[in-house]
Symmetry: D2
Amino acid sequence: MTREPLPSDTPPMRAGTPWDDDKLHEECGIFGVYGSTDAAALTALGMHALQHRGQEACGLVSYDGERFYQHRANGLVGDSFGDGGVIKGLLGYTAVGHVRYSTTGETVLRNVQPLYADFHFGGLALAHNGNLTNALTLRRDLVERGSLFQSTTDTEVLQHLIATSRRSKLLDRFIDALRQIEGAYSLIALSRRKLIGARDPLGVRPLCLGRLQDAWILASETCALDIIGARFERNLEPGEIVIIDADGVHSYQPFPPRPKRFCVFEYIYFARPDSIVEDRNVYEIRKRIGAELAHENGIEADVVVPVPDSGVPAAIGYAAAAGLPFELGLIRSHYVGRTFIEPRDEIRHLGVRMKHNANRTQLAGKRVVLIDDSIVRGTTSKKIVSLVRQGGAREVHMRISSPPTQHSCFYGIDTPERDKLLAARFDIEGMRDYIGADSLAFVSPEGLYRALGFEGRNAAQPQMCDACFTGDYPTTLTDRETRDRPAQLSLLSETG
Amino acid sequence: MTREPLPSDTPPMRAGTPWDDDKLHEECGIFGVYGSTDAAALTALGMHALQHRGQEACGLVSYDGERFYQHRANGLVGDSFGDGGVIKGLLGYTAVGHVRYSTTGETVLRNVQPLYADFHFGGLALAHNGNLTNALTLRRDLVERGSLFQSTTDTEVLQHLIATSRRSKLLDRFIDALRQIEGAYSLIALSRRKLIGARDPLGVRPLCLGRLQDAWILASETCALDIIGARFERNLEPGEIVIIDADGVHSYQPFPPRPKRFCVFEYIYFARPDSIVEDRNVYEIRKRIGAELAHENGIEADVVVPVPDSGVPAAIGYAAAAGLPFELGLIRSHYVGRTFIEPRDEIRHLGVRMKHNANRTQLAGKRVVLIDDSIVRGTTSKKIVSLVRQGGAREVHMRISSPPTQHSCFYGIDTPERDKLLAARFDIEGMRDYIGADSLAFVSPEGLYRALGFEGRNAAQPQMCDACFTGDYPTTLTDRETRDRPAQLSLLSETG
Amino acid sequence: MTREPLPSDTPPMRAGTPWDDDKLHEECGIFGVYGSTDAAALTALGMHALQHRGQEACGLVSYDGERFYQHRANGLVGDSFGDGGVIKGLLGYTAVGHVRYSTTGETVLRNVQPLYADFHFGGLALAHNGNLTNALTLRRDLVERGSLFQSTTDTEVLQHLIATSRRSKLLDRFIDALRQIEGAYSLIALSRRKLIGARDPLGVRPLCLGRLQDAWILASETCALDIIGARFERNLEPGEIVIIDADGVHSYQPFPPRPKRFCVFEYIYFARPDSIVEDRNVYEIRKRIGAELAHENGIEADVVVPVPDSGVPAAIGYAAAAGLPFELGLIRSHYVGRTFIEPRDEIRHLGVRMKHNANRTQLAGKRVVLIDDSIVRGTTSKKIVSLVRQGGAREVHMRISSPPTQHSCFYGIDTPERDKLLAARFDIEGMRDYIGADSLAFVSPEGLYRALGFEGRNAAQPQMCDACFTGDYPTTLTDRETRDRPAQLSLLSETG
Amino acid sequence: MTREPLPSDTPPMRAGTPWDDDKLHEECGIFGVYGSTDAAALTALGMHALQHRGQEACGLVSYDGERFYQHRANGLVGDSFGDGGVIKGLLGYTAVGHVRYSTTGETVLRNVQPLYADFHFGGLALAHNGNLTNALTLRRDLVERGSLFQSTTDTEVLQHLIATSRRSKLLDRFIDALRQIEGAYSLIALSRRKLIGARDPLGVRPLCLGRLQDAWILASETCALDIIGARFERNLEPGEIVIIDADGVHSYQPFPPRPKRFCVFEYIYFARPDSIVEDRNVYEIRKRIGAELAHENGIEADVVVPVPDSGVPAAIGYAAAAGLPFELGLIRSHYVGRTFIEPRDEIRHLGVRMKHNANRTQLAGKRVVLIDDSIVRGTTSKKIVSLVRQGGAREVHMRISSPPTQHSCFYGIDTPERDKLLAARFDIEGMRDYIGADSLAFVSPEGLYRALGFEGRNAAQPQMCDACFTGDYPTTLTDRETRDRPAQLSLLSETG
């Protein structure tokens, strides 16, 4: 994981494309292989399949029995690891990889994972998906005792906890360190003899185990198993540690069992539709949420149009449930990259359609149900609604396949400050007015849980982590509550 | 335009991604602006909207009343023109841009358009979409008379014809040159005082005129008008030359009128679905072809699955016509770039799924109608069918929204040699066997023409250019028939 | 050669280092090999040895019996051709290379030589050292007749003259073209079967022939023979054309003989000291000029200090002749590159010593004779004198190993406009005052010619070209005298 | 400083140019500024002036009262810091810079200095010239106690010693750390309020203090003061620590005084000739060594020729003392960069003269005294002698301005393994035979000390560190004598 949620008035700048900025972002994907002569190539492919979980930077560490090999870069996996020469230099039978989304200010290479360090017992590389909620407090204590940090990631806290642990065996040091941390984490660690996977006691972030011939795989999502033709074995349990070595897979459960609280947003937006996450097909769940939306908030209309690409499955579900035609009324360009020309204001105000264009013939004169997965700041929704109207739509009814996003996430999702969230600023009518739709509705928490196969949300002990909708955080938030935490993780500003 | 279809035994290598290689490729998109202070920025946006017509290279020439400014680069428009600094350096009120697909061997920068040259009458930049069928013959003659070529494009033939014309006015020289060439061309030329657009007498390639405030726009497709908020004015007529200058738009028709033969493949695959090409919405035509397919070749099935993204509209049309559910049974990664790691053979043979993955939950146990737009070599179709079967499909029925592609195109489409085309090697049953489907059917030429709004194909005088399906070439193919044409355009092999 | 001396009020910007800017610059070096399996590697080495003749750009064309291979780049030979991969791609037994100095505005790659073009008779690559004085006039005529130029070099005029010649044999076309041009040129051309060398009828620029095992070499200077261990054979005669092919070396003298006018500045500054140019060792001539300086303008002093590195040989000669110690009183940094930080004005005014530093211990309290090869604008001399004074010198006596530079060169040397030349603005006393020296003297033309082994300068028919000192130009200057020449060679401004 | 002298059989690969490889290399230069609005620009200029002390990498850290700014890069200062944008980003009134020579295997950016870390007390950047002789031992202990190293430099040991010190004030922590280290070090540290300079108790490496207006400067050599026009104040004393803050310069002498042992090789080769090092002008000392050489080992000859550039001052001294002419009989190319083409063996064996060329006219038929500063492996000397002979010299008498280099340096100089040193393999006659000279002589240690102003070498307590000649190491060499030191500093091999 990468970034502590710093209390700040200035919203962090996004390096993404203008419209994607108005999404929540999963911050990481992780992947590991034990026991293949193609360990680095398989890991790069796995990272590529997890690219939707982080596009800013990526890294890979392999081990060949003698040395560890590391390559880290900003940008996409295909751009950084596509070159055969890079893969050839990453020797060994075991490897761990990481893809990362992060905010601009922190994209220096020293923060790119897997983090590697030489310990007394040998080298260890660490890849983390999630976020620790007491990292600042722990870091301050470690620095006071003489630890020098090389990054501003919370993941490095774990490395120093392992380094300064007084236990002698690596597993004991690892457990010792995990005992001290709070928050969400799925971890893959690579030592000289072991590949280690771990999930936090609530199981907030996904992690699964797969098999490819003689090799074992750890991956955030099953789509990363599919890309290399690996077989899904099982999900790791919340709080479970697995150690994979020459003798096979060993499982440990060092923490007292707690009810699972898996992140519901993985189903709504983060995970790839073809993944099977915690035993549910993501595409199928999204279709069912669409159907729930149609049942809860159906409206007289002519056509159901998704905001591509993330709104497509829910729109298919909605259209089928509502008996309406599903049409691609908005076309998305897949060539939109990171940056683009900024024409002068007068041109920009004409409404430049860099990413989406209205498919007029499908919209003109019609009552349109527009399906999107979420509304964050609302800026994109406003533009999309306007675009659909310019395309000739007679009515625009916005339907959202998640409840209103009202709270920040502290478990590894990049969320704007609360006061930037549209749902924290307005009620539904205010939101509708802001985005300019004729009507606006969100799926209810009950509908969402029904789509997931529950009878409804258990308010006393919610079955999922849905804190971004409800504010019901399943862990303590030590850093957030601590008054004397450091204002800055590092005084260093690195360039070039 | 870029490359003469050279007779060669070795298929040209493709720089594209493995699976896209098995598509026909439109070779170019063109865009021009007259009369805006943002000419270069608007042109770059237009080129971006036309990116699907060519991803290999792009170029832009602007004119500010004193000098011409040129920037050319390999790669995507966003990567080469996204930087504000580049746009700022391209001064002027008028500009012309070009995006280009080309084969590996010819991607040197000197071939990237618009081509610019200084003539006796001043500078002229030329952007071409299409292909000349007597370029080799003309080039040989010009070189014999002392012309020195700087590129291997057929477009440069036009420049030398203009330079050596004995007429004095630019328009007369231009017409003089066009009279000598055969083949398909939509052209945009930029001189010191004029922006010129031209279409060949058959109107094989598209070109339309738009308006943005006081500025005039020329563009290959309407989606390039939409991106900048410009208004569609009209398509250029076959054989029409328009000259845009300070006095407005002037139209010329120097050639005897001939029946239009617009390229049918623009509707099937090349054009963007949201474009309105020759007065028809591309997405709508594709849906109708899907419906024709269902009517002509319907089959008992459980689900209709598109090969994404190009098969989606036809699949929606098929599903609606057949009363079957439309599902995303294949998920496509949008992060696939140009190149990627090649794992060792044993891994590759596991079937690495770089670009598509089966969405098993939607396929398992089902009878699947799989919709794609065309079969070229058949290699991709074979892999896709296999992928769908591995996803658990009980039956796979392949339906193609075009007739069998049996002939090479000489009008600006990059086609493999005839003996590489699956439809030239096998009958339908042989093709079905090759790709491994349970059944295979193509839309009939009649169905295709019906979807386009005709009663059927007029065999005596076909309404479109459909030579790739029928071998019915609407022009002479001088170079192809000439025995003594040069074997090589240039003896030069340029590096770095 | 590269650039026509355009009449312009704004002095062209230099890309060089601040102090080197105040030198005249040789504009090119050329090198060719016929008959070695290492043709490209040998050529790159030869170009490297000629690097002092041009540091802005370099290019190489080779031929392997089937194709020509070209690589051109901005920057130093070692940076562009040091990579083994580049050399490996330049196949063949024969090659020609070029290094080039040029002004900023024209450093686009299309101007980098050797220029290559495909002619009716096959390919031809051309490398030129020198400058044509009627290029603009010829170019205008060629463009009027339909030739399209791809560069702004005068060398391309030659190509078009060859292309449009009505003679049939290459040699005849070549002679036909040379007959039409005026000015200075040493040329190497590479065709499919021949390597051709040529010098203008006055022999202004150097060109010599060498031998390495079975291979023949053409090179601007002998130091380029030495680097590869080749044997010097002879200099080409003024007006001579040599054709090297499978049958050996053939010599032609198509022009009426004229008295030789070799460039005297080659001895003063351009050529490398270890070269033997027109049968004289450059270092030895420079020492002798130093001795002449001491004889003509000796002065009481304690030490002789060169401005490094170009002043060293003359200073050694002066010191020996004057019986004074020679000391490195100025130390030059060899790490000075193209650009460097510009500190704020207040710091810059402290006198930043990027390139030279005073070696105080050798200067303090002493009467210093400071030796430099020339004064162009005088800005550097002023700084150097000031630096020597700050180093503690009691007196500074500047002695220059050339006569005052009062006139522009039109034969391939980059000279500032006349009104920027210090010697055109002031008399000797005014120059001394400007640079701040206690005394200033230049070697006399007579002394210079004596150092070269003549009895003195033959004013009626000078033995060398010394137009930069005397204004006595040995050819007509057609372009300079033509009123209606084009103001600009091209309307194009190319970026990226 | 950068690299521990690892015991290894394979000589480390050099990234330098072929002939420079056969030199000893100073490993670092350091520079710091306190109190200038141009701190980063001045530091970059100072680093540029110290470029001869390290060309592989360079780094700079500045502090603006709030944050530290760091830029590190491989390559030359001018290439990495020449861009104004880089300097503008390095804000603040105080800065520290470092240039570094290092071996290929270790040139990863994380090893480039200044090293920065965030401590409990704030940030600290550290730049080191020298080498610690107990770094491995200390590192092993620190890692055992839980410190995680990010680099393989010995400098980082210092950081962890400071971090884990139990003292509270920074100065006390700093002294605490210095007490534990052995070896040679000149250090500049930058904290939030202080610029700190320190020299080891023997004063092996240079460090001096200068003044520029209100700012204080610390620099390895005076030439780095000269470049910015700063005034030399004084050298730091051996064992001295100076702290520069808002109140001025404070001096501390925490260690018991010991006799100074300044590195004699700084005078022979490392320092720039214009520097005044430990109160002696380097150029003057070199001339005097040349004179001593002439007195000790004079020989009948015609000319004295230096191996440029390092042999020049000694050759001037020799020539003056011997009454022989000094001539540039070898010409050096200043365009030789990092890498260059490798022609095939047959060509290479012709003796490619990439870097030096014989100036035949000055050598032919002459008895040549050839002056160089040292012989390391002897490979270059062998080539140079051969080159001079090929230039026609009748006799070649090699004279070396240092005693034979027989021992490795452990104090910051990159020396080959002992068994690669020519002087450790052969006696003088054997060396002469190996390099192919007619005679060979080295200056005697006594002569060397006389040139430095001593009466001779005090064998009981040598006045300088001359261990590379004598094996008389002035400190313990703990790492070298420790059997159980780690074989490898890190298991990590980083790419990209």
